[in-house]
């Protein structure tokens, strides 16, 4: 009997814990988008964030995308050995895999690790070194000043990163497909243009904007409520990335159902 009560108590505590974090996250988001003190300073901060979070990620996105495209091409060729399947199907498979899933999802997961940990640790460090308190004392909405430019910068630049990833993924597939000798140039190009649906790109871009919001806001939440010292900053950074990945995966499923079903 006692064990059942204890289990129910644990479930109750866990549920309350989730509601607590949900509530605090939404209150922080509301504060984040409150009227800014000075629009020109916020605009400058958005540009800075685009440079640091977006342009700074171009290299890793290009490298990951090229190798993703290459692996999908070689794996598709391996699986399409049946003579009934035309060789250009490799191009179709690479294009659709990259555009529909790999570019928006995998790149967002990688950005969650790179950008998310950077955001959580930056804001967390500012919290434990009282820099956030200093902003509040000055009469500045610290959530708006620190988090809003990161979210807006991310939402503006993430679609560009995803298009960039699509290009490099398909290019990687092409180059490595030719080098491995699994597909000809003609078949690959025919495949990537075969029955192309522009809506797939729109779908990927919608996902990329939603994921960008999650990538910036979830780690920022964990960083903002860091309490303690260097150890807690590390913990916040890890928690921020882990929760960010889980939320991205959940929204990937929801958006796929909403936009493709």
């Amino acid at each position: 009997m006692w064990s059942i009560i204890l289990i129910f108590n644990e479930i109750f505590q866990f549920t309350m814990h989730i509601f607590f974090h949900f509530g605090r996250y939404f209150i922080l988001t509301k504060r984040t988008f409150a009227k800014p003190e000075k629009v020109s300073i916020y605009w400058q901060r958005i540009l800075d964030e685009i440079v640091s979070l977006g342009i700074g990620s171009l290299g890793i996105v290009a490298i990951v995308s090229v190798f993703l495209g290459a692996v999908i091409t070689i794996q598709s060729a391996f699986n399409f050995e049946n003579p009934l399947i035309p060789v250009y199907a490799i191009g179709v498979a690479v294009r659709d895999s990259i555009i529909l899933e790999f570019a928006p999802l995998v790149i967002s997961l990688i950005l969650a690790g790179k950008v998310g940990s950077s955001i959580a640790s930056e804001i967390g460090t500012m919290r434990v070194t009282e820099q956030i308190d200093a902003l509040e004392i000055m009469g500045i909405n610290s959530a708006g000043y620190l988090i809003a430019p990161k979210i807006i910068g991310s939402m503006l630049f993430n679609p560009i990163l995803i298009v960039f990833s699509m290009f490099f993924g398909i290019l990687g597939g092409y180059v490595f497909g030719l080098l491995a000798g699994v597909v000809t140039s003609h078949d690959y190009i025919y495949g990537i243009t075969y029955e192309f649906r522009p809506y797939n790109v729109v779908y990927a871009l919608i996902k990329s904007v939603v994921f960008a919001f999650i990538i910036a806001s979830v780690p920022a939440y964990h960083g903002y409520y860091t309490n303690g010292g260097a150890l807690e900053v590390g913990r916040s950074s890890t928690k921020g990335v882990v929760y960010c990945i889980v939320v991205i995966l959940a929204f990937d499923l929801i958006l796929t159902q909403l936009l493709l079903a």
């Binding site: 000075k38 070194t129 009282e130 308190d133 200093a134 004392i137 000055m138 009469g139 909405n141």
Partner: protein, 220 residues
């Protein structure tokens, strides 16, 4: 001045006073208005009248010394870039810091960080200045410089300054009105002459904790 042993609640009290922590009980009145009854925007307006010197300085790591001092000016005034720089240079000069404008906080010593933090705090001409252990981690000579700076600025700008400290040198140097906190409660209140004469056990234990102060008491 608010004094007391470590863990007595000095910093918590200060954070309640400036609105960084919600108190469990009691009010914080600014010009008769309870800070915690005000809405977010009204609190922001009051905070513009407050300058604060944090224990570690709390300078923005990503900004240079000049940018740190210019920051509050940029946020709340419409001065031109040249005017903002002039104001920042004036404040930096006031705290005896020159030719450090382009350095980052990580390149400064503890005392310099505190002075930059004071310059940033006075940049928007506050009515109240709160200092959280301004001497912690500083050598006695630099502590004296910071103490004198706080005293001079308080008189020069005609502001109310609240200093949290457990440094008796500081208390004797700049303390006009002293409050001793013990276990989260106000335990004793008076001036720097009275604190040397009090027979309150906890205050005496604190004041005469060092051999120097005990010798001083025996001497006089």
């Amino acid at each position: 001045m608010i004094i007391g042993v470590s863990g007595s609640g000095k910093t918590t009290l200060l954070k309640c006073m400036v609105g960084l922590i919600d108190p469990d009980a009691g009010d914080v009145l600014f010009n008769g208005r309870n800070f915690y009854d005000l809405d977010f925007n009204a609190k922001k307006e009051i905070r513009k009248e407050i300058g604060m010197l944090f224990q570690g300085g709390a300078l923005f790591d990503s900004q240079t010394v000049e940018e740190n001092v210019v920051f509050p000016i940029s946020m709340f005034t419409n001065l031109t870039i040249a005017e903002k720089k002039d104001r920042a240079n004036f404040c930096l000069k006031r705290v005896n810091l020159e030719n450090v404008n382009n350095l980052y906080p990580s390149e400064l010593s503890g005392g310099m960080k505190k002075r930059v933090a004071i310059a940033r705090a006075i940049a928007v001409q506050p009515k109240y200045l709160f200092c959280d252990e301004p001497n912690s981690g500083l050598d006695p000579l630099t502590s004296l410089v910071i103490d004198n700076l706080i005293k001079e600025i308080t008189e020069e700008y005609n502001i109310t300054t609240v200093v949290i400290t457990h440094d008796m040198n500081s208390v004797m140097e700049i303390g006009d009105h002293i409050m001793f906190i013990y276990k989260g409660e106000k335990w004793w209140e008076g001036n720097r002459t009275e604190i040397l004469k009090t027979d309150n056990k906890e205050v005496c234990d604190f004041v005469y904790a060092t051999k120097f102060m005990r010798d001083l008491k025996t001497k006089f």
